[in-house]
Every structure is written in C-alpha cells, then in structure tokens.
C-alpha cells in the first residue's frame, strides 16, 4: 500500500495532461475498485488524479439521434435510476442494480465500472503467480480452484473473467465508449473496448495509457419493452456472477425482429455472438429457438476442473432469461430467477 501524490485537475484537458502517458498515474472517480486494488498491494499509483470536480463528465443527456449519453462520472445509482435510462434502457438499469451494493453504486461511476479488474482469487493475491499481474509468472487458476473462471475466450495464459454486470447490458445495447487522451478523442464500439486475454492477459481493455473515458453513448433501440437481466451467484445478492445474462428482444407479435444476448461471468469480456442473435431474427419467440441460440452462443465453451457447470448453467440461464424478457414483470430484485 504505497504512498502517492494527489492531483485535482480543473478541466478534462488538465486531467489528461497530468496523466501523461505514464500508466502509474491513475484517474480516480468513485475509487471503489481502485482503492481496493491499492490496499491489496495490486496497484501502486504514483499519483491519483481526482476527476470528481469535472462537471463536464457528470451528466446524462439525450443525443441527437435519440439515444443517451451517459457521463463517465455519473454514478451507477444515478444512471440506473435516471428516468430516461429507466424509460429507454431498462435493461441497463436492471443490470446495474444487480451489481455490487447500494452504497457502492452510490459511489462507483460509469467510467470506473468499465475498468473493474477481475475477481480471480489468484490475481488478488500478490504473493502467488499471475500472468495478468505479473506477465510470464504463470496462471495457478488453470490447475487450481477455478469455479468462478472463464468458459469462453480464455487462453493458456489466463482464464479470468470480467466481473461487471453493467457492462453485460452495455454490450447487449451496442454502447460506444467515448475517450479522450493526448492523441485526441476517439470512440470505441463496446465490443472492441474489452479484450480477450490471449498472450497479453495484463491488458483488460484497449484503452491507451493516460486515456480518460468521458462518456458512454447508447444508440436508440426498440428494446425497452422486452428485456431481462438474470444473475446467478452463490448468494442472492452482493456477490459476483457465476453466470449472468442480458437479453433484449424487439418483437413483432410473437416474432423476433431483433435479439441481443450477452453473457457475464463467463469470459474476459461480456460475451456476445452475432450468429446467435441472427439465428433468432425472424423466428418465433419460443423456448426451442432460444435454446438453439444458446447453443450457438456457447459454441467453443470449455470448462475447467471446477467450472464445467457454467456451460449447462449458461444455456439454461439464456433460455430462462429469454422467457423473462417476454414477461419483464417476472424479474425480481437482485436479478434472481423468476418465481
């Protein structure tokens, strides 16, 4: 738990300047994951750049094309309970409210949510090898206790999973991440924001050193009627997902016009497969079709010693959550399975 400098920029550009391209200078907003990592001796910031005083990042506004722009500094709670989010993107509200606790959601910001690090036991113990923490040191999770680990997109270097719930919904909603940095502004489609571990598991996402997330754009859609978020975990609240599913359906009567399905808790990033969604296009919204889509989405899934259950569990979860999306009133607090 090292000492660090503390900076309070007055503008976004000053914040970006202070960060430079030095990866050991870190922006702090809610701090709920950053301070946790610092206290566990997993992160050793030279300076913390407090961006909480930058109002430019702290609003939710409508975009010209009818979507919403979520400021990076808006808290998870303020976002989940925002009337426009509840009205247009209820799937996002449900996913946010399935994560963490009410106190943490009051602190954690939208930008920070994207930057959460894995809860892998081995990553969290600085005394043991971990390729994500210490590249090349090895991955004890692969032959160790891997109940919480990945079944999709893992590599022989890392089987960690990304823990966010909010991001599972953002992935399903085709969000776009707006960032700024010394090279200027850019927008990153959500699918390209987080990455798979491959042979560089230390990198969780495609953000460059010193880049700052400023907002998340949600494009307009027709998913405000049939949606559901389901989260399966070892207790009924305040635990990370073993498997979670975000489902959004655009229905024409009983026929699916468009479907989105994203999985959480199964990979190094929220997991989508457009083939599964295309399969559902134009099909009847019935269990058999959702089951077939689940099989496509789970193609290539591979279990390890303790997490093989995630494959059948994910399939059942996709099916149930699709049915819950047909009847969103069946969703329960804590994103528990419908009664």
């Amino acid at each position: 738990m090292n000492n660090f400098d503390y900076l309070q920029p007055q503008s976004v550009s000053e914040a970006v300047d202070q960060a430079g391209t030095n990866d050991s200078n870190r922006f702090i907003a809610g701090g709920t994951n950053l301070l946790d990592l610092w206290k566990y001796d997993l992160l050793h910031p030279a300076a913390l750049i407090d961006i909480n005083q930058l109002p430019a990042l702290n609003s939710i506004t409508e975009t010209a094309e009818g979507g919403l722009r979520l400021g990076a500094l808006c808290t998870n709670a303020a976002t989940a309970y925002h009337p426009l989010v509840e009205e247009r993107y209820p799937l996002l509200s449900k996913a946010i409210l399935a994560g963490a606790s009410a106190q943490i959601r009051n602190m954690a910001t939208n930008g920070g949510n994207l930057l959460q690090r894995t809860r892998c036991y081995y990553f969290y113990d600085p005394a043991v090898p971990c390729n994500k923490r210490n590249p090349g040191s090895g991955c004890p999770a692969i032959g160790g206790y891997n109940r919480m680990h990945a079944i999709l997109g893992a590599s022989d270097q890392c089987i960690a999973v990304f823990p966010s719930d909010m991001c599972v919904a953002l992935a399903a909603l085709n969000a776009v991440v707006l960032v700024t940095g010394q090279q200027g502004d850019r927008s990153i489609p959500f699918a390209d924001f987080h990455r798979l571990p491959g042979d560089q598991p230390a990198l969780d996402n495609t953000l460059l050193p010193g880049e700052l997330i400023t907002a998340i754009d949600l494009p307009p859609n027709r998913f405000a009627t049939n949606y559901s978020y389901l989260k399966l975990r070892d207790r009924h609240s305040y635990a990370f997902a073993l498997v979670s599913v975000a489902t959004a359906l655009d229905l024409d009567g009983d026929t699916i016009r468009e479907a989105r399905i994203a999985l959480g808790g199964v990979a190094h990033k929220p997991w989508r497969n457009e083939l599964a969604e295309q399969f559902l296009q134009g099909k009847a919204a019935i269990e058999a079709n959702f089951a077939a889509a689940a099989d496509i989405l789970l193609q290539g899934a591979q279990g390890y010693q303790h997490n093989g259950f995630k494959i059948p569990l994910a399939k059942k979860a996709i099916i149930r959550n699709s049915l819950m999306a047909l009847d969103p009133a069946s969703q329960l607090p804590g994103a528990q399975p419908s009664a």
Binding site: A127, G144, K310, P337
Partner: protein, 745 residues
C-alpha cells in the same frame, strides 16, 4: 410490596443504546495519549524458513519507530507451557516471531511500529524477505492414511475421546433390514466476526499494562500475557466490555495480543495493533473433516447399528480435537455401536473452536444419514426419530436432567405444517420452483464452568454484581442483570453489573453456551450469601425490628429486607449499609457445577429444525424460504435475546449448508478467499422467515437456575435439515458442504 420478576421477560439489551448510537467502544477504539500503531507482516510461503529479512528501507520511512522480527525480538519466556492458554490443545503452542521457521502460510513474521497506521502499513510493504521453501502438505484427503488418535491433554476434559464400541456393528450393518453408508466432507470455515481482531495496550509504567483486547476471556488473556512476559498477574489488566462477535475465535489469545504487548513493553509506549480482514484468516478456523457413517435399522424402524468415523485436520504443532463421532448415540439407542475420531496433521494453523465445534459437523452427517435411512425404510423422517426416541441417554443409560425434545418435534412440526408434506421427492412445486421440506434433530452439551461473583450493596442501596466475563453479543449483561435483580426483587435499574474486566472475579471463557449457567449460577449463590450477610447485619442494628427474625423469616424485595409474615416490618438496604458505617456490604462466592449430583445424569440441550427450501426447477438456485426451530434448553432467562441467539445460529446453519467455505489451494498451501467478498456469508436477501419456539423444560437438577444455554443449539440441526429439504425438493442427496446450487444441474 411485590416487585415483578424480570427473568422470563423479553427485556431489551441494556447496552443497546450504546450500540445504536456508536458510543460502544471496541478494542481498537480507546483513546490513549501518545499511541503508536502496528502493522503485521505475514509469511507468503507455507513451510520452510526465513533466510533473510531486511528492514532497512522500511526503517528509513519517516514515522517508523521500530520493526520487530525473530532476529531482534526481546527475550521471552521459553517454556512452552507458559504460552499455553486455558483453551490450548495438547502440543506446542505457536509462538509469534519465535524463530526463522515457517509453519503455515500467513504466519506473522514481523511487526512494524509507527506513529500512525498508514505509515506502519506502508513501511510493512517495504520489507525484503527471502525464504527457503520446503515441501508441505495441506490436503486432508491425500493424507487420510496418516490419521491417528489425538494426544490427550487438559482440553480433553471437555472433549473426551469416543467411547468403546459395543456389540458387532459390522455384522449389524450387514444383517439389518435397511442400512446406509455415507461419506461426508466439510470445508474449512473461518469465524469472521465483524470486528477485526485488535489490541490496544496502554503502557502504564512500572511494569503495569491495561489492555483492551478482542477476546472471549479477559482472564485467559491476562494469564497468558503475565506468563509469557513475566509480569505479575495483578499488573496486567485485560478489558473487553464490547466484543464485536467471537464465535470461538476469541477463546484463545491471538497473535495480535502477543505482538502488541511485546511492542509496548519493549518500547515503553502504548501501542495499538489491528489485524486486517485477510489476517483474520491466519490464526485458526473450523477444520475440514471427512466423516464415514454406517447406520442400520430393522424393519420396524429401530436402529440396530451406529458407526461413525471422523477424520479432522489439525496443525503440525497442536492436536486440536473436537467431539464429532459419538453424538448419534446420545440421541438414538442402538445395540451395536462404533465411534472413532482421528487427526491428520497438516501444514496449517491449529484450528480453534468455532460455534458448536464438532457437533455442528457431526449432526449434519448424522441427521442426513437418518433421513436417508428413513427413506430406505419408507418411514416418515420425523416418525423415524420418534421411533428411536431416547428418554435416557443411550450411550450411558443415565437419565437426562431434563429433555423436552419430544415437545420440540411436536411444536415445530405443527407450526411448520410438516403433515402437509408429500414424502415423494421432487413432488411439490410452486411456479418455477421445486419445494422441499426437511427436518433434523439437534443436540448440544449443557456445560457449566466454575465462576466467581462479587455481590455488593452500595451506599445507595443498589446491587452491584461483578464478574470477569465478556458479552460477545450474547446478551450476557442483560441476563446477568435480570438474574441478580430477581434475587433481590429489585427493578433492573437498581442493579449494576460490572463485567468484561480481568480485575473482576474469575470467569473462564465465553464459549460452549455456558456463560448463563456458569456466571448466572454464581450470581445466585453470591446473592444468597449476600442476603444472609445483610440479614445478620440487619438483625444487629440498634432497635432492629428484625432482631428476632431467623433467616427463613425474612425476604428481600424492592430494596428492603422484610418479615415474610408482616411485610410492613422492613429495613431498607441503604439503611443497612448506613448502619455498616456507610461501608458497602459485599461477598464473593464461587459457583460450580454440582459434579457429584450430576454424575448420575446426562445433560444436553436439544432442538428440532424444520426447513422449507425452494429450488429453481431449471437453474437449481436454492432458497431457504422458511425455517422453524424448537429448542429445549431449560429455563429461558430472556426470550428476546435468546430468540436472537437461535435466529442467528439458524442463519449460521443456512450459511454452512449453502454459502460459507474457505477455499484451500492445496498446491499453494494457502487460503484463496480471505475476504468477505468471496468468503460468502448470507446477506439480507438470503434470509427469509425464521421462527423460534422454546419448549417448556423445567430442570431442577442441572444448576441453581435450571438454565442450559442457547448459543449453539440453534445451529446444529439446521445444515442437515436444509440438506434433507434439498433432497426432498430434488431427489438428490449431497454429502459435502456447502451445497453449491450448480451441483444440482
């Protein structure tokens, strides 16, 4: 003149206002001038030795005062015996910073002392430590062939070895109409009280220390500190008026006490040392165990054989043992029995008692086996228990001092609605959920330890009771006050109880559900002695209206001693003290179990738990939707705090059955989830309807009060009742805890 008795009344906790306003102070919260702060460094290897420990960089940090390691620690007592606390198992006590040897992962190896805690913590990260690692074994399963009998020692008094076999249990198993053989496995668990272990040592000079400590025994820790550091007992005062949960973890002095006192003595300064949550996983746990059961019954549903063998993990340096294998024979009669309990030494810290040690693991195995056997026989599980009901202790033939288990079964079954159960597994449904009903029996010992109590009438005529015991959230302060108040017929406002202080008369430790029986009985004895003393003084007062009254002629009520046949003839207690030249009148007396009388009896508390679970038909998520526990535990002094104890232990049962486990990576030899995010205990969303019934169980024999204790009995039946309900809901039996819902897929 007749005051209202308080015993049996649901009186709110007397310290409640301090707890809801934040005014209650715990061990790390005492303001002490000129305080130094410590931070512990722990071993990152599992076994081997420290070859180099370099503190140069850390010492250079501004504000660092001293760094203790095995190389520079002060010379200390070197007899192992001097480190042995009252709860030490047979073996060699772990001595922090003793030498370079590493016995387990997370072993404390250095203590950084600084001006503030942030500096100490930062400097602790700057130590350079090199190790020589040797191979280790932390896997119970791989080492069952090394199992052996536990060593005997002082601790074996409370946890006697299993009894000798009777009959021929193997033959009974083979020849009976029905039999079940099952193997059960339980994970390591950690107590995880919400309060972090902490010690504030106030250096008073002249070899005197005042120590605020997180403990379940002020006196145990006073003796430990005095013995280890060679101090006079009277110069060491340990205080623990508020303890943020214990569950057994505070039964032994933990290493932060040793390190904090060592630093204070060496530096001649007051020192505070608080462990962090990760370090809370570095000093004792409920051990993992393997249990093998072979139960058999005849075609009428009478048990014929009970065989139970348990293997449990301990450390390489102490033989921590529990009573596991013989509980079934204290519940059910059977002509053929065999019980065995063995230990496997592993490179882990010594376990320490955790809520209902032994019984908690055993009853899960026993009551699940009973359920399975009931199904094999085609008998309702409750009916099967009733057919094997024992009015006398089957293992000794002795009568119980009291046993209202039958009433527990009836009351709880009726309230729960057990008769609505369709015995067919997976037959009951509610929407997407399979519904299961399960039940189990609980039994726990009724301990009583010796305790001394001082009872005093002060100048205002108030009753003052003193005893060293703690109140770890059990309601002890309130209960002691009620007992004392009723002895004198005083309202509770007229009674002050001093506790949580090693300067007060002896109390052993707050464990084994024994405090009310121990300290409570001593209060009765001391109060009676004080009444006698008061009567004598009252008689002798000038012109006393009680001059001719015999002891039997007088009674006490509402702050007065009065003539039974003419209550208008009375003297106030304040007047008696005034007649004693204003000197408070006091007496100190010992309460202890009536061993001679009790030798003829068996003593136990009992419970019956009935549980409903819902299991999602496809996703298999499990919810304990409601549970009813009926308890027979003698007289209930305070039904409000007692109910909380039972409800709390029912939550522990839910936790053990479905949630909590310490993950041990046996390749790394260490615990991998030392935090409250991944060491799952239930959250509010997991807890639904809980109902508690106290069966009427008068007990004239057990002790002065007829009380037994309610700290653990609510836990023991719950895990099996839940597992049996999951079976009933799904048709699948699980033998390992916790049951992860995905195992049902």
């Amino acid at each position: 003149m007749q005051s209202t008795p308080t015993v049996g009344k649901p009186i709110s906790r007397l310290e409640g206002i301090l707890k809801v306003t934040g005014a209650a102070r715990y061990a790390a919260e005492y303001e002490v001038p000129d305080l130094l702060h410590g931070y512990v460094v722990n071993s990152t290897i599992t076994k081997g030795s420290i070859t180099r420990i370099d503190t140069t960089q850390a010492m250079a940090v501004e504000g660092v005062v001293h760094i203790f390691t095995h190389e520079n620690r002060p010379r200390l007592a070197w007899f192992d015996l001097q480190y042995a606390d009252m709860d030490a198992p047979p073996g060699t006590v772990f001595k922090p910073l003793h030498d370079a040897t590493i016995h387990y992962n997370g072993q404390p190896i250095a203590l950084v002392i600084a001006q503030d805690v942030e500096t100490a913590r930062y400097a602790a990260s700057l130590l350079t430590i090199e190790y020589e690692e040797t191979s280790f074994d932390t896997c119970l399963n791989d080492n069952l062939h090394k199992a052996r009998k536990p060593k005997k020692g002082l601790a074996s008094v409370m946890k006697s070895p299993p009894p000798k076999p009777t009959g021929d249990v193997k033959k009974a198993f083979q020849q009976s109409a029905a039999q079940v053989a099952a193997e059960f496995r339980h994970s390591t668990e950690h107590h995880n009280p919400m309060e972090l272990f902490a010690t504030t040592t106030v250096y008073e000079g002249d070899g005197q220390l005042t120590i605020y400590d997180k403990t379940q025994s002020t006196i145990n820790n006073q003796l430990y500190v005095a013995n280890v550091f060679g101090l006079k007992y009277k110069y060491v005062r340990v205080l623990a008026p508020f303890v943020g949960g214990g569950f057994g973890s505070g039964l032994r002095p933990q290493y932060q006490l040793f390190l904090c006192v060592m630093a204070a003595l060496q530096l001649k300064r007051s020192v505070r040392l608080v462990l962090d949550r990760k370090q809370m996983f570095s000093f004792g746990h409920r051990p993992q165990n393997v249990q093998r059961l072979h139960f058999s019954a005849d075609d009428k549903g009478q048990l014929t054989g009970l065989s139970h063998t348990a293997f449990s993990a301990t450390s390489q340096f102490e033989d921590y043992a529990e009573t596991v294998s013989e509980w079934s024979h204290k519940l059910y009669p059977a002509p053929h029995t065999s019980f065995d309990y063995q230990l496997v030494s592993l490179d882990l810290h010594t376990p320490v008692d955790m809520r209902a040690p032994g019984g908690n693991s055993a009853l899960h195995a026993i009551e699940c086996t009973m359920d399975e056997l009931a199904y094999k026989l085609g008998i309702d599980p409750l009916e099967f228990r009733l057919r094997n009901y024992a009015d006398e202790d089957p293992s000794t033939g002795k009568p119980f001092t009291s046993k209202a288990l039958r009433a527990c079964y009836q009351l709880a079954a009726e309230q729960f609605g057990w008769h609505q159960r369709n015995p067919q597994p997976a037959s009951m449904k509610r929407g997407n959920k399979l519904v299961g009903y399960g039940m189990a029996t609980g039994i726990w010992d009724a301990f009583q330890f010796p305790a001394r109590v001082e009872a005093m009438i002060d100048q205002e005529g108030k009753l003052v009771i003193s005893n060293a015991t703690t109140d770890i959230g059990t309601g002890t302060l309130t209960i002691m006050t009620q007992i004392a108040a009723d002895e004198f017929g005083l309202p509770i406002e007229q009674v002050n109880v001093h506790y949580g202080d090693s300067k007060k008369p002896f109390s052993m430790f707050q464990g084994g559900s024994a405090t009310t029986a121990s300290t409570g009985s001593a209060i009765v004895i001391a109060a009676q002695a004080l009444k006698k003393k008061l009567w004598k003084i009252a008689k002798g007062m000038d012109g006393s209206p009680l001059a001719k009254a015999g002891e039997a002629d007088v009674a006490f009520d509402s702050g007065q001693i009065y003539l039974r046949h003419d209550p208008s003839v009375a003297i106030s207690l304040a007047a008696i003290v005034a007649a004693n030249k204003g000197r408070p009148i006091k007496t100190t007396n010992m309460g202890k179990p009536h061993l001679l009388k009790l030798r003829k009896y068996a003593k136990a508390t009992h419970s019956a738990a009935f549980v409903e679970v819902e299991v999602d038909a496809e996703l298999k998520t499990i919810t304990v939707t409601r549970a009813v526990t009926a308890v027979a535990a003698g007289k209930i002094i305070n039904p409000k705090t007692a109910r909380s104890q039972i409800e709390g232990s029912m939550v522990w049962g839910i936790s053990k059955a479905l949630h909590e486990a310490t993950i041990l990576d046996e390749k790394l030899g260490k615990f991998m989830n030392p935090n409250l995010a991944e060491y799952h205990i239930p959250v509010h969303a997991d807890i639904h309807e809980l109902d508690v019934i106290f069966a009427d169980e008068p007990d004239e024999i057990i002790n002065e009060l007829g009380v037994k204790g309610v700290g653990e009995i609510g836990l023991v039946a719950m895990p099996a009742a839940i597992a049996n309900a999951v079976y009933h809901a799904t048709g699948k039996r699980f033998y390992n805890l916790p049951i992860h819902f995905n195992e049902l897929l």
